[in-house]
Amino acid sequence: MIFREVEDRDLVIKAAKGNVDAFNLLVSRHEKRVFNYLLRLVGHREDALDLTQDVFLKAYQNLTKLSDVERFSPWLFRIAHNEAYSLLRKKRPDSAELVYDPPTGGARQGMYPVEMNIAVERAMGRLTADQREAVVLKIFQGFKFEEMAEILDLPLSTIKSRLYSALDVLKGALAPMKG
């Protein structure tokens, strides 16, 4: 992970100087994470794919504005967050609460039974949009609290509050599975 961060930093510096190959490598590294994050937010594969394309386009156009090259990943997800909510506001301008539509396209190839995945998706559907995004960023994407605060532009206390309340909901919803 440490080597990965160092390499990302070098790639960002090179890409900011116009090295196209460096940015292409950054795209290859982060596109799947960004796509899955957006898929969790918007619940539609094609929309998530289009948004992912837009995110990397904006990242490329604004790479020179990135003040701290060490923070490329949170900065990229900040762009993704803004793009997702911009789309959702256009699609559902009157809805304050997003309707969760769990991804169903890909077959799960993990070591866990399919029922577990279905139960998790259902449990995620019980969360508010803010709680869900906190879980996605922390559990699925592995960001630190500080990075989440940077991505969502919120205080650390709000991040913890959303995540902890989400974990309480998920713990209750997934309780029957754990036995």
Binding site: V20, E31, L49, Q61, G110, N117, K160, L167
Partner: protein
């Protein structure tokens, strides 16, 4: 955020500081209830972690792809030299357009009006030109005559002054010569008469 100072969730999520980790570990060692809660939390996190990421239906376009190429406007703005060249080009176009749009109006002479012959026009033009030239020549003559008159008057004044001066010089010279002659005649008279000049001894 939990009011409990022992943040088991942060501990489970790997966000606890070393000091908080020690406190949480000690708390878990002492409290069975805390251990149950922590175990439940870990199982939930394990269940969540079991969800795999979706594979992307297609790759994202790279920078070298056409979708990432900047627009013409972005390319122009992205380079000072290109912007300067563009500005110069725009200025050249503006100057050229100005030249075409504001050409001097050419006045075309129409056909002669019916009833007026070319000879009449020529005579009229000749008279007008002749009178204008005559007036101009007369004006020049008048100015020249006045200037000559002034010069002659000035020359006469100078000549009279010079003549008067010469006359006065001639009068003085004549008087002096006359005095000399008179003295010579007196000496001749004295000599011829045997008279002596001066006091007698």
């Amino acid at each position: 955020m939990e009011n409990n100072p022992i943040d088991l969730k942060a501990y489970a999520l790997g966000e606890a500081t070393p000091a908080e980790q020690q406190v949480a570990a000690a708390h878990l060692a002492e409290s069975a209830e805390a251990r149950d809660e922590f175990e439940s939390l870990q199982l939930t996190l394990t269940a969540l972690a079991s969800v795999r990421d979706e594979e992307m239906p297609r790759r994202i376009a790279f920078v070298s792809d056409a979708v990432f190429e900047p627009s013409l406007w972005q390319r122009i703005w992205g380079s000072g030299a290109r912007l300067a060249f563009g500005g110069a080009t725009l200025l050249a176009v503006a100057i050229t357009a100005h030249g075409f749009l504001t050409r001097p109006v050419v006045t075309q002479v129409g056909a002669p009006v019916a009833g007026i012959s070319q000879a009449d026009i020529d005579r009229t033009v000749y008279k007008a030109v002749n009178s204008a030239v005559t007036a101009a020549v007369m004006a020049v003559d008048a100015r020249t005559e006045a200037r000559v008159k002034d010069e002659v008057s000035l020359a006469l004044v100078k000549a009279e002054k010079r003549y008067e001066g010469e006359r006065q010089m001639m009068a003085v010279s004549f008087e002096e010569n006359l005095n000399i002659l008179r003295k010579q005649m007196n000496r001749m008279y004295v000599t011829n008469a045997g008279l002596s000049i001066g006091p007698k001894e």
